[in-house]
Amino acid sequence: MLDDLPQRPLRVLLAKLGMDTHTVGVTIIAHALREAGMEVIFTGLKQTPEMVCAAAIQEDVDVVGISTLSAGHTRHLPKLARLLREAGAEDKLLLAGGVIPQEDQPMLLEAGVGKIFTMGADTRDIVTYLKAWWAERQAAEVP
C-alpha cells in the first residue's frame, strides 16, 4: 500500500547552503525522487537559510531536503529549522543528507531536523521513507 503514492505528488525542495558546491549527491537524489513520481525543485547553490525558508513557503513544498558536505550542518540546519518554525511552516519535513557525523545527529534532530540520511544511503531507502511519511501525513489529514 505504501508503495502507491497518494493522489497528490509529494513536493520536495532540495537546497545547498553556504559555499558547499558538491552537487553529485543532490543530483542523484533529485533524479531518484522524480523517478519515484515526486515533484522536485532545486534552489541552486550558495543559499542562506533565509533564502531556503522563503523558497519553501513560496513553492508550498511538503519536504525541504538539505544536502551538506562541507561541515556547515551544525550552523545552517538549526537555523533553518528555527526559521521554518517562526514562519509557521514546521509541518514541512526537514530532511538532511550528506556528511553528517553521528555525534552531531542528536543535536540536529533536537533542533527540528526530521530525518537524516548520511553519505552512501541507498536512494531506494530514501524514497521508501518519504512515501511512508507522505502516506501517514495524508492519512492524518483525512477528517
Binding site: 559555499m19 558546491t21 552537487t23 543530483t27 533529485a30 561541515a71 550552523r75 541507498d122 536512494t123
Partner: protein, 573 residues
C-alpha cells in the same frame, strides 16, 4: 594496394573467418557448459560492450591504420606519445596537492612535501577564496581555511611563499572565478620574495567554464567569466611567456561522472571557447595553442578505459588543432597532460585498500603515457585531511611505478593490442561526434548557458549510482566484501575556530593600517576596467599592492558583472 598490404588484408579476412570457427567449435561449447559470470560485459563508465576476444579483424572493423592512427612518438598525431623518447630520458614530474589553513601552515606542509622528493606543488584555496569572499564575510562563516588556504590579502601569500624556490620547479594555483585577483597576488608576492619569474613555472588553472559545468565555484555570469579568464591568458602570454595560463581540468568532469567520451569532448570544446576568445585578442593559433594545451586527466579503475582515454586525448587534440584551426607547429599540435588516479574510486570503507587502487590507477596513467606531470591523491583522503604518512605513501606510489614496474622503459607499451587499439579508436570517433554536436549548438559557452553539459552529467551521476545500488558494479568494501561492523563515517576535519578568528583578526588589522584612499582609488580602477576592455590583471595588480583584499576586488567586479544564479534546469539537478 601493394602486395604487402594485400597480404595483410587477406590475412585479417582469414582471421575473421578463423575467429568465427573458434567461436563455434571451441568457445561456444565451453560457455554452454560453463556459463559466463554475467549477462553482459561492459566498460565501467561508457558501458560499451566488451567482447570475449579481440583480433586483427576488430582493427579492420574500426578502420585502424597504423600510420594514420598512431604514427610515431613525438610526431603527429601523437597517439603514442608527445615525447620523442617517452619517459626514457626523463620521468614525468611527480606532483602532489597541498593547501590548508593559513599561509604559514601551508608553507610548512609544502616544505615537507618538497623534502619527500616532489618538485611541483598544487596550491588550493578555501571556498571563501575560490568563491570570491573575504574571510570575515558572514556568508563564509565556518569555511575559512577548511578546504584549502585562506587568502585575503597579499600578506597571506607573502607568508605562504616562505619556500625553497630552488627545489620548486612548478606551482599550480587553483582559483578560477576570481582569477585576475589571484594571479595578481601571486605576481606581487613573487616580486616581494625576489623570485625571478622566469626561473620557475607558475601554472594557473583559470578553469571557470568547468566551474559552471560541474564544480559550482562561479561568481559572475558565463560571458564575463570567460572574459576575465581571457584577460588572465592574455596577460600571461604577453608578460610571462614561460608560464601556463590555463588548465582544462577534465579531472573535475570525471568525478562529476563524465564518461571518457564526454570528458574528451566537453573538455576539448571548453578549450575551444578559450582559444576562440584568445584568438580575438589578436593572436594566431600557433602562438596560443602551446599555452592552452594543458589538461589534467583522471584515470579511474577501469584500466583500459583509462589508458585508451589518455591515448585518444592526445590524438583528438592534435586533430582538432590541425583540422579546426589549421595549426602547424608541433608545439601547437601536442597536448600537455597531468594525469592522476581519481579520488572517486577510493572508498571510505577499508581505507588501506585505496593504496592498492592508487597503485593500479597510477600504473594505468603511466601505461597511457603519464603526461608531463602525475599527481596522486592520498589513500585516506576520503576520511580527513592528509596525514604525513599518507603523503609519504602517495609520493612513494609514483616512484615505485616509475622505478619498479618497468612500464616506463619503452614507449606506449600497449600499442598494437587489439583491444586497446579498438577502444582507443572508438573513443576518438565518439568524441568527435559529440564535439560536432556541441559546436552545432554554438560551442561550450552555449552548452553551459543552455544547461546541456550539466544535464548530461546529472544523468550519468544518477545512472552510475544506480549501477552500484543495484549491484551491477561491484565495489570492494561498498557492496562487495563488506565488513558489516565497520564504521563508515567520514571524520570531518574540524579546524578549531581560533584559526578562523585569527585570520579575521589579521584581515581587520590590515584594513586598519593600510592606505584606505589608495585602496578606494584602485578599486574604482577595477570597476572602470570591468566596464571597459582594459585588462583586469593589470588593475588588480595595482590593487593588491596597496593591500586591497581579495573579496573587495571581487566585489568591485560584482558591481559591474552581476552574479550567476542558475535554476534547477540549468544546474542539471
Amino acid at each position: 594496394m601493394n602486395e604487402h598490404i594485400r597480404g595483410l588484408v587477406s590475412a585479417n579476412d582469414n582471421i575473421a573467418a578463423e575467429t568465427s570457427r573458434w567461436e563455434a567449435e571451441t568457445r561456444a561449447p565451453f560457455v554452454a557448459a560453463n556459463p559466463e559470470r554475467r549477462d553482459t560485459f561492459t566498460t565501467q563508465a561508457l558501458k560499451w560492450p566488451i567482447k570475449a576476444l579481440y583480433t586483427p579483424a576488430d582493427l579492420d572493423a574500426v578502420g585502424f591504420d597504423y600510420a594514420a592512427d598512431l604514427g610515431f612518438p613525438g610526431e603527429y598525431p601523437y597517439t603514442r606519445s608527445t615525447r620523442p623518447n617517452g619517459h626514457r630520458s626523463q620521468y614525468w614530474t611527480m606532483t602532489q596537492v597541498t593547501g590548508f589553513g593559513k599561509g604559514e601552515a601551508w608553507a610548512k606542509r609544502a616544505r615537507y612535501m618538497l623534502d619527500q622528493g616532489l618538485s611541483g606543488l598544487i596550491l588550493e584555496y578555501d571556498l571563501a577564496t575560490t568563491n570570491g569572499y573575504d574571510s570575515d564575510d558572514p556568508i563564509v562563516e565556518g569555511e575559512v581555511g577548511r578546504a584549502g588556504m585562506a587568502l585575503d590579502s597579499l600578506e597571506d601569500l607573502e607568508n605562504a611563499f616562505d619556500l625553497p624556490f630552488d627545489k620548486l620547479q612548478y606551482l599550480m594555483s587553483v582559483c578560477n572565478a576570481p582569477q585576475p585577483v589571484n594571479l595578481a597576488m601571486i605576481i606581487a608576492a613573487l616580486e616581494k620574495k625576489g623570485v625571478d619569474p622566469s626561473e620557475f613555472v607558475l601554472h594557473i588553472v583559470n578553469g571557470i567554464l568547468i566551474e559552471y559545468t560541474c564544480v559550482g565555484r562561479y561568481i559572475y555570469p558565463p560571458e564575463h567569466g570567460l572574459r576575465i579568464a581571457t584577460d588572465a591568458i592574455e596577460y600571461i602570454i604577453r608578460n610571462h611567456p614561460n608560464w601556463a595560463p590555463l588548465s582544462i581540468i577534465s579531472a573535475q568532469l570525471q568525478p562529476a561522472k563524465a564518461n571518457p567520451v564526454q570528458e574528451i569532448a566537453f573538455s576539448l570544446a571548453i578549450c575551444c571557447a578559450y582559444i576562440d576568445a584568445t584568438l580575438e585578442r589578436g593572436f594566431d593559433i600557433d602562438t596560443i595553442a602551446p599555452y592552452l594545451n594543458h589538461f589534467v586527466v583522471n584515470v579511474d579503475m577501469d584500466f583500459f578505459e583509462g589508458i585508451c582515454k589518455l591515448r585518444a586525448f592526445r590524438k583528438c587534440w592534435a586533430r582538432l588543432m590541425k583540422e579546426r584551426y589549421g595549426a602547424s607547429r608541433p608545439e601547437a599540435l601536442k597536448i600537455r597532460m597531468m594525469t592522476s588516479p581519481t579520488t572517486i574510486a577510493l572508498t571510505l570503507q577499508q581505507p588501506l585498500n585505496n593504496i592498492a587502487r592508487l597503485g593500479i590507477m597510477a600504473t594505468a596513467c603511466a601505461l597511457g603515457g603519464a603526461g608531463e606531470n602525475m599527481t596522486t591523491p592520498l589513500h585516506d583522503e576520503a576520511h580527513s585531511l592528509p596525514a604525513e604518512e599518507a603523503i609519504r605513501v602517495g609520493a612513494a606510489i609514483q616512484h615505485l611505478v616509475a622505478h619498479e614496474t618497468g612500464v616506463a622503459e619503452t614507449i606506449d607499451p600497449l600499442a598494437g593490442s587489439y583491444y586497446v587499439e579498438t577502444l582507443t579508436k572508438q573513443m576518438e570517433d565518439a568524441a568527435f561526434a559529440e564535439m560536432d554536436k556541441i559546436f552545432a549548438m554554438g560551442g561550450a559557452t552555449k552548452a553551459i548557458e543552455s544547461g546541456y553539459f550539466q544535464r548530461a552529467l546529472g544523468r550519468e551521476q544518477y545512472e552510475r549510482n544506480k549501477d552500484i545500488e543495484e549491484g551491477r558494479r561491484k565495489w570492494v568494501g561498498v557492496n562487495h566484501l563488506v565488513l558489516p561492523e565497520e564504521k563508515r563515517e567520514i571524520e570531518i576535519f574540524r579546524l578549531d575556530d581560533s584559526m578562523e578568528e585569527e585570520q579575521i583578526a589579521k584581515l581587520r588589522d590590515l584594513r586598519a593600517r593600510r592606505d584606505q584612499g589608495a585602496v578606494d582609488a584602485a578599486l574604482e580602477k577595477v570597476r572602470a576596467a570591468a566596464r571597459g576592455d582594459d585588462n583586469l590583471v593589470a588593475v588588480c595588480l595595482e590593487a593588491v599592492k596597496v593591500y586591497a583584499t581579495h573579496g573587495e576586488i571581487c566585489n568591485a567586479m560584482r558591481d559591474v558583472f552581476g552574479v550567476h544564479a542558475p535554476d534547477s534546469q540549468l544546474a542539471g539537478v
